[in-house]
């Protein structure tokens, strides 16, 4: 009566323990970050994490609008995570989905602990994340890029926030799941982490993991966050180092004049 045909099991690990895209279990996808990519935003960043392509922009601190949302002792942080209609296999409706609303909230909560919002009462800091192409791990890549955009906007931060997911494929704990691994895999654990503060600011999980696997996956993703954190710092240096050299040259020129 019922069609109980079992769905064909996809093999996500080959005989050598390598993954569909040839990575080892604890290997990150290639991550490229760039800072200051938009003209009009106060701060911006672009990230390519695997095949994820994400733009983040920050406006502010600026006057709160509408005024009634302003807080007397700190800035209001607002965040919008949004996926472009063409970013996925099937077209995604541009209207915000429940998933996007939830992610906007957890991403805001992952970045707010890093922002010294107490310096900007009655103002807002607006964070916009646009996913141009999605390939699993968009919330983490979104956090990584948005944190850079905040830094690029000159907003005082306690620390940069780096994010990366770990998960489980074919019964093994694995780092940074790709699209097919996320869909066919056993579990996903996105984590955002501030290395110097030893602080986890985003943590979600779905799937099925034992306590030990979960702890192993947590350690694995935190380690990857440290790697991504270094890339974030490098991206900031790449942009601002050049400008400082130019400034020094100008200074020297002024002294000589």
């Amino acid at each position: 009566m019922l069609d109980n045909k079992k769905e064909e099991k996809v093999r996500l690990l080959d005989d050598n323990g390598l993954r569909v895209d040839g990575r080892r279990l604890d290997e990150l996808r290639p991550v490229k970050v760039e800072v200051g990519v938009l003209e009009k935003a106060d701060g911006s960043a672009y990230i390519e994490h695997g095949r994820n392509k994400i733009l983040a922009a920050v406006f502010g601190p600026r006057e709160a609008h509408p005024k009634h949302i302003a807080l007397a002792d700190r800035a209001v942080v607002r965040c919008r995570y949004h996926m472009a209609p063409f970013s996925t296999d099937e077209r995604k409706s541009p209207a915000p989905s429940r998933r996007e609303l939830e992610l906007s909230k957890v991403i805001r909560e992952s970045l707010e602990p890093s922002i010294m919002s107490e310096y900007f009462p009655r103002s807002t800091i607006d964070i916009f994340i646009e996913v141009l192409q999605a390939d699993a791990g968009t919330r983490c890549a979104g956090v990584t890029s948005a944190s850079l955009a905040l830094a690029d906007a000159g907003i005082p931060l306690r620390e940069l926030v780096a994010a990366c997911a770990a998960g489980k494929v074919d019964g093994k704990v694995a780092l940074d799941l790709s699209d097919i691994e996320d869909k066919k895999g056993d579990a996903d654990l996105p984590v955002a982490f501030m290395p110097k503060s030893n602080a986890v600011s985003l943590l979600q999980m779905d799937g099925s993991m034992t306590e030990d696997e979960l702890k192993q996956a947590l350690d694995m993703s935190i380690n990857a966050c440290r790697t991504i954190y270094e890339k974030q710092k490098e991206a900031l240096r790449t942009k601002y180092h050049v400008e400082r050299e130019e400034a020094e040259e100008e200074e020297v020129a002024e002294v000589n004049a």
Partner: protein, 271 residues
């Protein structure tokens, strides 16, 4: 857009008091740091629903109802029934709950409860297929918050589980393109029993099952949902603070422990 909320002014006044009490290993309602509030669960109180459950967690009160109807399956899962979870923060439950479309808090709550049920494979959705690709059963779980005294996620998760366990549907037959319902009723094909346990961090202390006052002064919370084999099937961190990795591991271990008794309590209601 997701926006920073104003914390309750009363909460700021109470913050130090609550924090100091917790530092002494106590709670404002005289519980120990890892004591769960008394849980009362009553099944089947709404006759017109296929299943229902009301949970009292201390003074928090949540009602969940299950309706089972037919619908079209999703394209990528033609052989599976559909589960949808929705939460209403009903205005009668709390002064700042407003009528209208669900806000980010109720969406988050519903999605956390949904993930617990879905990822633990609590319902065998393949048994809810009528005509592959054309007709399946849709299980609607609607969570109603009736009185808000903290830790809504746990109360909602347990009410939803209770309502599913309680649910009865008409037995059916599918012959020559038509569904024929029988007179007998059957339970939902349940295969797991996910229970969410929420812990919060206040100052540098971690406590389980926050009451409303504690929730208002918390820096962050972590919900860990566990299935019957002690496997973790969903987690969600919320709030503006941060956890250390060590705190997270501690919370996971204690949530696994805690969920066992509560799961037994809910399952024992059916038999």
């Amino acid at each position: 857009m997701s926006t920073t909320h104003q914390s309750s002014p009363l909460a700021r006044l109470e913050q130090k008091t609550i924090q100091d009490i917790i530092l002494k290993g106590k709670r404002i309602d005289e519980r120990g740091p890892f004591d769960y509030r008394p849980l009362t669960i009553t099944l089947g109180i709404v006759e017109k629903a296929n299943g229902s459950a009301q949970v009292y967690l201390g003074k928090t009160r949540v009602l969940a109802g299950v309706k089972i109807q037919t619908g079209t399956p999703f394209e990528d899962t033609p052989n599976e029934g559909i589960l949808t979870v929705n939460a209403e923060f009903v205005p009668l439950a709390y002064p700042t709950f407003e009528a209208g479309p669900p806000d980010e808090n109720s969406i988050e709550l519903a999605r956390v409860v949904d993930r617990g049920i879905r990822e633990s494979k609590a319902i065998d959705l393949s048994k809810l297929c009528i005509d592959p690709g054309k007709k399946v059963f849709v299980v609607f779980v609607d969570v109603y918050i009736l009185d808000h005294d903290g830790n809504l996620i746990d109360a909602a998760g347990m009410a939803a589980l209770g309502a599913l366990v309680n649910a009865k549907m008409q037995e059916f037959e599918f012959k020559s393109g038509e569904v024929r319902y029988k007179d007998s009723k059957m339970a939902l094909p349940m295969q797991n029993y996910p229970v969410p346990i929420t812990s919060v961090k206040i100052g540098n202390s971690v406590i389980v099952d926050p009451c409303l006052e504690e929730e208002q002064v918390m820096s962050c919370r972590l919900t860990v949902t566990t299935g019957k084999n002690d496997d973790v099937c969903a987690m969600q961190k919320g709030g503006l603070g941060t956890f250390t990795p060590e705190e997270i591991k501690q919370i996971i271990s204690s949530a696994i422990q805690k969920s066992r008794d509560l799961r037994t309590k809910i399952i024992s209601k059916v038999n």
